[in-house]
């Protein structure tokens, strides 16, 4: 078989790789995303806070500061083009003492210098006028109205999907193990021996970006994984805060935040713990109880027993601290060390990367038929009752509710399975449709969702998995069959 050839190979199907691929798909070039997992958004892009930071955190002059402020400006347009849930809900950082207030003042100053708009320090009473559930012990708060929230995996899936709609390829289960140059071409090989050829490599491999970097030339940086654990609470609590609420960093670690999500849940976390294992996303009792205690400090009336799930993500922190966006040699671009605020920065990083590619002698001609728009994954639930009835008349499966907690219909599930990037497992359906993401966590709908996935894909029911690989759902038939 002929090895497939592309202009660009983007290694890593996270939000960074996805948005870079989408930017490239604006031009008359061929691009492939190489992703080791069986779905996109399986790394940090699936398990993070989902905050589009206003941009007061990073030191002026760093790439982080520049990318964050620019990314936050671009995000609203990107989210609306891609039909991704996004809301400019504002952020606050709370101070419980005068000493912490000094920290707020430093942040405000830094924010102003970074170019963050309308940032101010207010007192506790003023804060509680719009956030009445926050602790009466909060004395001051930094208020940044430009802070926003977004669905991080929604953004990643939509970015990859839109890139694919515009001609980009996606190869899954493609774990890059070797990158070899011969003249103007690179050969990129996977752990299973698959290979593609390309003229340039963009390394957006997240937690493994140092390993991938070193496949081309000795890497000048190292990734230090840092775990963050979360608790996700029932939608009943989604309205407890309107803004995203950060605590000041303390000796015990970086502040835990409390935020509504775009889907209407309340999210608490993350912890910050340095770990060795780059695949270790297990939660632990200490971590989860630290999150709960920290959240209670901000929100003393947070009811117990409303957690619907917990999870953890790994930050791909570079030893130098800042983002790394640079050519390591001709044709090999590292986009590495993209920890927080990587999500916020993603559109700006993609823009920068394409500029760098254009400036380095690659010819980029605009595609005339590029379509920046993508129908939202949740287009059906955005309709009015009358419009829904119209759809149901044409396609009755939209009238069949499968996920009772989130009210997701069979039609929406089938639709998600048919759209690029197609899900291969039930978790993939969950991230696209929210089916199974509600308070029963798939208890009722999992059997039916697995059945629909099997019908749509032709994968036998017994081979349907939760998250691909060995994550089978059923082991065998019962004795009677």
């Amino acid at each position: 078989m002929m090895t497939r050839e592309y202009d660009f190979a983007v290694i890593g199907g996270g939000v960074i790789g996805g948005l870079i691929a989408r930017e490239l798909s604006r031009f008359e070039v061929t691009t492939v995303i190489l992703e080791r997992s069986m779905d996109v958004s399986m790394g940090a892009s699936k398990a993070n806070s989902g905050i589009v930071h206003a941009g007061f955190d990073a030191e002026r002059g760093t790439l982080k500061a520049r990318m964050n402020v620019r990314g936050s400006e671009l995000m609203e347009t990107v989210a609306s083009e891609l039909g991704v849930g996004y809301r400019r809900n504002g952020s606050v950082v709370t101070a419980f003492s005068d000493k912490e207030r000094e920290h707020l003042l430093r942040l405000a100053e830094r924010g102003a210098r970074n170019g963050v708009k309308d940032i101010s320090v207010i007192d506790g009473d003023r804060l509680r006028e719009f956030e009445p559930n926050l602790s009466p012990e909060i004395k001051y708060a930094l208020y940044a109205p430009t802070g926003a929230i977004i669905s991080p995996y929604g953004l990643c899936i939509a970015a990859v999907g839109n890139a694919m709609d515009n001609g980009c390829d996606l190869m899954r289960g493609f774990e890059v193990t070797a990158v070899e140059r011969s003249g103007e071409w690179f050969t990129v090989t996977s752990s299973t021996g698959e290979a593609i050829r390309c003229r340039a490599v963009i390394n957006a491999a997240g937690i493994n970006s140092d390993i991938v970097a070193s496949m081309a030339s000795p890497a000048r940086f190292r990734i230090l994984p840092r775990k963050g654990e979360y608790l996700l609470c029932d939608k009943e609590l989604g309205g407890m805060v309107g803004c995203t609420v950060f605590g000041c960093p303390t000796e015990k670690g970086k502040g835990v935040l409390v935020t509504p999500t775009v889907d209407g849940n309340l999210l608490l976390g993350p912890t910050a713990e340095d770990v060795q294992d780059r695949d270790d996303v297990a939660t632990c009792a200490d971590g989860l109880s630290y999150v709960e205690r920290s959240a209670l400090r901000q929100l003393p009336r947070l009811p117990r027993g409303k957690v619907i799930t917990s999870f953890a993500g790994l930050r791909a922190k570079a030893d130098g601290g800042d983002f790394i966006i640079e050519w390591s040699e001709r044709g090999f671009l590292n986009v590495a060390g993209i920890d927080s605020p990587g999500l916020s920065s993603a559109p700006a990083i993609a823009e920068t990367v394409v500029d760098m590619i254009g400036n380095s002698g690659f010819r980029l001609d605009r595609k005339r038929n590029f379509d920046p728009f993508r129908k939202p994954l949740d287009w059906f639930s955005r309709l009015s009752d009358e419009e829904k009835s119209e759809v149901i008349r044409e396609r009755p499966e939209y009238g069949h509710i499968v996920c009772r907690c989130e009210k997701i219909s069979e039609g929406e599930i089938r639709d998600a399975i048919r759209r690029d990037p197609r899900p291969h497992d039930t978790d993939g359906i969950k991230r696209r449709t929210r089916s199974g993401m509600g308070r029963c966590q798939g208890g009722f709908c999992l059997p039916r969702v697995a059945e629909i996935l099997s019908e749509e894909t032709g994968i036998p029911f017994l081979e349907i998995t939760k998250a691909s690989g060995g994550s089978y759902i059923n082991k065998s038939r019962t004795k009677g069959d």
Binding site: L231, L232, E236, D279, V281, A282, T283, C284, A285, G287, L288, G305, V307, I308, T309, S310, F311, D385, E386, K388, S389, E390, I392, R393, P396, E397, Y398, G399, H400, I401, R404, C405, K407, S409, R439, C440, Q441, G442, G443, F444, L446, P447, E451, F461, T465, K466, A467, G469, G470, S471, Y472, I473, N474, K475, S476, R477, T478, K479, G480, D481
Partner: protein, 418 residues
């Protein structure tokens, strides 16, 4: 979008909804519509293929589907209308019921009275907050039951069950009969919340070990679950050193309690009881939202379906009377209880008539007196050999007790020898 009127809309076609419908019909109501989200009537009973249902109600032991079929047959014979594959998405306080189905699209019904009988669901892993990895193979017992009994698939072969609720116990036996090995049933409390007969017939008869005061502290395995860390706990559910073990398994089933599926009300439609998770109701099972009734496991979790049918019949008769415009009671008596009791249903009395009050105790008591007091006077005392949280109790209140005494009702449990 279609809109129409109906005198009595029943949400949920399980045993509660069907029993309510039959009772309303018998009380003279003819314009009844049951809305059921599944493809068939019967609710969760359709997957409960074991027997043990109906001893109270029919005086014989039936399987779940047989029990449900008795009601389904009545519903059909009486010509009571029902829509299946139809999900109710909202109820407003003026009794407009919003629903969706493939045939009707989105539609709205203006109801004379509404009965909500949507059942309950199991507490999932997330709600239990068990740390560890997130592999496949962690299911609620009910999900596993659906796979095995309805779909004909085995989730796994090496099973650990967390929680000794009845569904967990039943599934321990079921999985064993299907050739799996149930390595352990773990219960965080010092007693099982399941029925005593299920401990005997589902665990002891098969030599399945039950570890009381034990729980899962961590889940292991990257893709599929590979094992669980188990700890022993004290009375406050805190781990105690020395009780740790690791149990390899390919499946963890959770049977850690049921929660009323009360979303239609909890959005602000009616006042809720934080302990039951259901609504606050009067003796007719009418909630704080006028003309909207609740019964079955959406109101509070019952031990036996027989009691569900019984309660639903009360709601059915009362809803029929409401739809007819009958005169209503005008008293306002609250039901209180002492520290040994977890909850009582109904929580209030609004008309003077004979009423059963259901309650659950917090702890196991060997020997106790259940005492009912109306307006400060003891009106009944009952000796009990054993009381346990897993077994619902009732006290009977007569119209006379209420007529002869004025004031609230208090139910208390006085342990013997105290």
């Amino acid at each position: 979008m279609r809109r129409f009127e109906c005198r009595l809309v029943i949400v949920g076609g399980g045993p509660a909804g069907m029993s309510a419908a039959v009772a309303a019909y018998e009380a003279g109501e003819r314009d009844i519509l049951i809305l059921e989200r599944e493809h068939t009537l019967g609710g969760i009973l359709t997957q409960c293929i074991h027997n043990g249902f109906g001893l109270h109600r029919f005086g014989e032991e039936l399987t779940g589907p047989e029990y449900a079929y008795r009601y389904e047959k009545s519903v059909k014979e009486l010509g009571i209308k029902y829509y299946t594959d139809c999900t109710v998405t909202g109820i407003s306080s003026d009794r407009t019921v919003s629903a969706v189905s493939a045939e009707e699209g989105m539609f709205k019904i203006q109801a004379g009275a509404v009965i909500v009988a949507t059942g309950c669901r199991e507490r999932p892993r997330g709600a239990l907050n068990i740390p560890g990895t997130r592999p496949s193979g962690v299911y609620t017992a009910g999900t596993a039951q659906k796979f095995v009994n309805i779909k004909g698939y085995m989730p796994g072969k090496e099973i650990v069950i967390l929680g000794s609720g009845d569904i967990g116990l039943i599934m321990a036996r079921r999985m064993t009969l299907e050739g799996a090995t149930v390595r352990a049933v773990l219960e965080i409390m010092p007693y099982s919340s399941g029925l005593a007969r299920n401990i005997e017939q589902c665990l002891n008869d098969y030599g399945i070990p039950l570890y009381l005061s034990h729980t899962v502290s961590e889940i292991h395995g990257k893709e599929r679950i590979e094992g669980v860390s188990v700890v022993r706990v004290d009375e406050n559910r805190r781990p105690v050193p020395g009780g740790e073990m690791y149990i390899p398994c390919d499946t963890l089933l959770l049977s850690c309690g049921l929660i009323p599926e009360n979303e239609l009300a909890s959005g602000g439609l009616a006042m809720c009881d934080v302990t039951t998770g259901g609504c606050i109701v009067d003796q007719d099972r009418e909630s704080s939202a006028e003309g909207i009734f609740f019964c079955g496991n959406v109101l509070h979790v019952h031990d036996l379906v027989d009691y569900v049918s019984e309660e639903a019949a009360i709601a059915g008769r009362a809803a029929a009377a409401f739809a007819r415009g009958d005169k209503r009671g005008d008293v306002n008596i609250s039901v209180h209880f002492d520290k040994n009791i977890r909850y009582c249903v109904p929580q209030k009395i609004t008309s003077l008539k004979d009423t059963d009050i259901y309650f659950r105790v917090k702890d196991v008591h060997r020997g106790a007196t259940v005492c009912v007091n109306v307006g400060g006077r003891v009106v009944s005392e009952q000796k009990k050999i054993r009381l346990a949280p897993g077994e619902m109790e009732t006290v009977h209140i007569t119209e006379r007790m209420l007529a002869e005494n004025t004031g609230d009702i208090t139910v208390s449990v006085i342990p013997s020898g105290v």
